[in-house]
Symmetry: C2
Subunit: 116 residues, 2 copies
DNA sequence: TCCTATACATAAGCATATTATGTATACGAA
DNA sequence: TTCGTATACATAATATGCTTATGTATAGGA
């Protein structure tokens, strides 16, 4: 098994937003979901996860309530607000723009390369 | 014109390595090349550029010499070492793995990945 | 009884980005 | 000739946010 990729700063937010886009989840479940959805490529550390959730809530993108999990434990459940839903869209588009820009640069043929 | 995308931490190194893959360049030219190759999506700030160049040189990926530009100015030219060449390959593959993992999570087909 | 998974939280450390500031020169326009 | 702009380097202060380490607490199985 290849070790998990360290998260690039700034990419966690959109992962969390996406994890919450279908249904409310608590922090630990968000972490698990991201790990599984990425085929173990991403392993979200608690030290990144919980501050990020609070950050996004402070920004108005999430709302949280304490509730009981199906295994009978107390946990803080987060759900996307309307603003968070819009943010998921714009953050996703922003990521895609970034990927496209990287592809333009990295896909650029070297001018020193010989051509026919 | 849309404003330049803020650089995600960790992605500058591979951009610089690629900028130097065809021929040696000095810092300012690296910055200009990245801006143009990305169609103005990336604008590398000096405060990020020069420390990054020294960092990569300290890591053994680059070597530098002072020389004169074609406009008659003194500038520090950087070239890729053999180790830097290998690093370009592995860093590019690492970026591609990251993009693919993000695509798996965000649930859309990979928008096109770059090769070294 | 003890280990593991679950569930939260925060502090310390670290890497690296942005912003601001400084020096200096070449070159064209006013 | 002067002045603004592009070129060319460099560093300090600041901000962000990720990793690592540490702590608390409970549920459930071996």
């Amino acid at each position: 098994m290849s070790p998990p990729l360290p998260l690039l700063q700034g990419t966690l937010d959109v992962l969390i937003l996406h994890a919450l886009s279908d249904e409310p989840r608590h922090g630990y479940a968000v972490s698990r979901w991201i790990r599984q959805a990425s085929s173990d490529a991403f392993q979200v550390e608690e030290g990144a996860l919980y501050p990020a959730l609070r950050r996004l809530e402070a920004r108005g993108w999430l709302e949280s309530t304490w509730a009981t999990t199906d295994t009978g434990r107390e946990a803080r459940f987060y759900r996307l607000t309307d603003e968070g839903e819009r943010a998921l869209g714009s953050e996703t588009r922003s990521w895609n723009r970034y990927v496209e820009a990287m592809a333009r640069v990295l896909g650029r043929p070297s001018p020193g390369t010989a051509r026919p």
